[in-house]
Symmetry: C2
């Protein structure tokens, strides 16, 4: 299998300001062209757009606006997991030899049609994501004794980390007490346990081993990939206190990259809600089952930025189609040693966890410097 690496990246500031999807995308592509030596539009073989927007032909529109005439151009959609689906697809075009350079562009608006999965009629009026996250929370509490305070540590930590992320939608920290006294949305989900939709875009440039050094002296390699879709509605989950699709995707990613969970120096995990970070850490085998909450508390108390240094979805905002790409960009910057105040020391191996709809599907990527 041909090696594929990341050569460059670009982000917009995540915002509540109303900006068109095309403008968002072009704004995150621009720094890639501005900052990448030798890169011209002619180098780009593939343009993939990641979004839940209903706009059609978007990859071709963005290509035209950016002056690119790629071979392949299309949009990829898989709800919140669109971004890493797009990255894996770009990987496969390059790895197969069909392409050498691919531009992956994700963006979403805060009123995205991907916020609620209309299809799942079985949930009746309870189709908003807070309801599955509430069931996840109840189940995890029952099995492991997780508390409302444990959940608050996730939000407090991630909001604090986001203070060092110039692209975050939010710029204030919250005390444990503030999180715990924020508005109750269900009997165990508070407003500050939720990630919030926002407008934002993230772009990444992937290239083959053969050409990547034309564009960067420090490529970061996509060394492991795992994906799994269990279902679309979460009623097929075998249980609700762990993430089956995440475990399966992680196993495949660790195997492909010859990496153990103990090798992971830092990770971006999909904290759509506080409980998701705790469950993801366990399902990724970064901690033992039931060990997520204690680990998060320890990270917070020791100011250890190993998990979600950019602030996660809760601290930064969640523009659906951009999220998986923004997560991957954080690991890219960390492995390059370019993460500024967020830098995790000596990070050589990183993990990205991106998922959709009650962890019915997950992607896990492992990156190495």
């Amino acid at each position: 299998m041909r090696k594929v690496g990341i050569a460059a990246s670009g982000l917009t500031k995540f915002t509540k300001e109303d900006i068109s999807i095309e403008s968002l995308m072009i704004s995150s592509i621009k720094p890639i062209f501005d900052n990448t030596k030798n890169l011209t539009q002619k180098d780009i073989d593939v343009v993939l757009t990641s979004t839940n927007s209903n706009e059609k032909y978007l990859a071709n529109i963005i290509s035209e606006l950016a002056g690119i005439s790629p071979k392949t151009a299309h949009s990829v959609e898989s709800l919140c997991n669109s971004g890493t689906n797009c990255i894996v697809s770009a990987f496969s075009y390059i790895s197969s030899g069909l392409a050498d350079v691919a531009l992956v562009v994700g963006a979403e608006k805060s009123d995205s049609p991907g916020l609620v999965l209309d299809w799942d009629k079985s949930r009746g009026q309870y189709k908003h994501p807070i309801y599955w996250s509430s069931l996840f929370t109840s189940s995890h509490m029952r099995k492991y004794g997780t508390t409302m305070e444990d959940l608050a540590y996730v939000s407090t930590k991630n909001h604090k980390n986001a203070l060092d992320n110039p692209y975050s939608c939010f710029d204030r920290s919250y005390s444990l007490e503030e999180v715990m006294s924020s508005k109750n949305l269900t009997d165990n989900i508070r407003l500050l346990d939720c990630s919030m939709p926002c407008n934002g875009s993230a772009s990444i440039l992937l290239a083959s081993e053969e050409v990547i050094r034309n564009f960067t002296d420090e490529p970061i390699w996509l060394s492991g990939i795992g994906q799994k879709s269990i279902s679309a509605g979460f009623t097929k989950n075998s249980e609700l206190s762990s993430m089956q699709s995440t475990s399966s995707a992680a196993s495949d990613a660790y195997l492909m990259s010859h990496t153990l969970p103990s090798d992971i120096d830092m990770a971006e995990v999909h904290d759509a809600f506080s409980i998701c970070e705790i469950m993801a850490l366990e399902s990724l085998k970064l901690v033992k089952p039931g060990g997520g909450a204690v680990f998060v508390k320890e990270l917070y108390e020791t100011n250890n930025k190993k998990i979600n240094p950019r602030g996660g979805l809760i601290g930064t905002g969640h523009p659906l189609g951009a999220t998986g790409i923004a997560q991957t960009i954080e690991t890219y910057q960390q492995l390059q040693g370019e993460a500024g105040k967020r830098q995790v020391e000596k990070a050589k191996t990183a993990l990205v966890h991106n998922m959709s709809a009650a962890a019915t599907s997950s992607t896990v990527l492992i990156l190495k410097s």
Copy 2:
């Protein structure tokens, strides 16, 4: 590059009857499971859906409904060219080694939001596809002396071919006179020169060389792939009497498969409008520039089914996201010698041409038995 072949296919009858996108998709998947020896849901690594529908998470929904828990599942959209984009993406997952078996499922409804490209404001009220096809027609007439009668031969031939296609939406032939006297939509586009949107689905199963013989004794190989996106709005075309994206995609596909245009035994070309078949034949180098009309007339008069034996988009109907897959299924059946009354004798090498929006992007596939 690892070889990838087609192992099975399924179609629904194209129809004006209102059927949900999920039901359409499941109906075209069913014959694949019914007719493929040894195939179980567990064999499928990748499920990609091709549609312009606004429904989200469709690849995961269809996977759940079909009892499949794939690794990778997402939707692909690139207007009328979505189907072959999906096939090429599936090819790359398999060819790269990330997957062994991929199910590609395309479907569309006749009221698809992909019928008109809202983005192209430069065309004002003239954004319906009949207007670009009318400009193509004027331009080709000016350059090559193409006549209204020449156009009528395309529609008459394709409607006649469709009579032998049990999955066609339409089941009657039209004389040259009937086509020529059908309603004028612009000064050079008549109603019967247009393909019509309809409801329909087409699915195809791709597999790696290593595993394909578990499922079929007669795989058909995807030996050449070419894709090109020039723009999203057709005002970037260098001229309007040929298809620049098609020429570029065809060159790459011929090169990859070590095939010459003269080796092509039969082809499915994207006759969204009559003029498109004539222009595509020329841009694919199956005839010389300006030679398309005479060639089509000759095919009709000699009852030669070499081009669009299933009836093309005009004869069969055009369910956008399914079209490229249905075209590919026709070449698959032809190369297997299983095309019944439509069979082109001794077909060993076939070509698929699928495009979007005024040929602003094209895919060309070359298949071999």
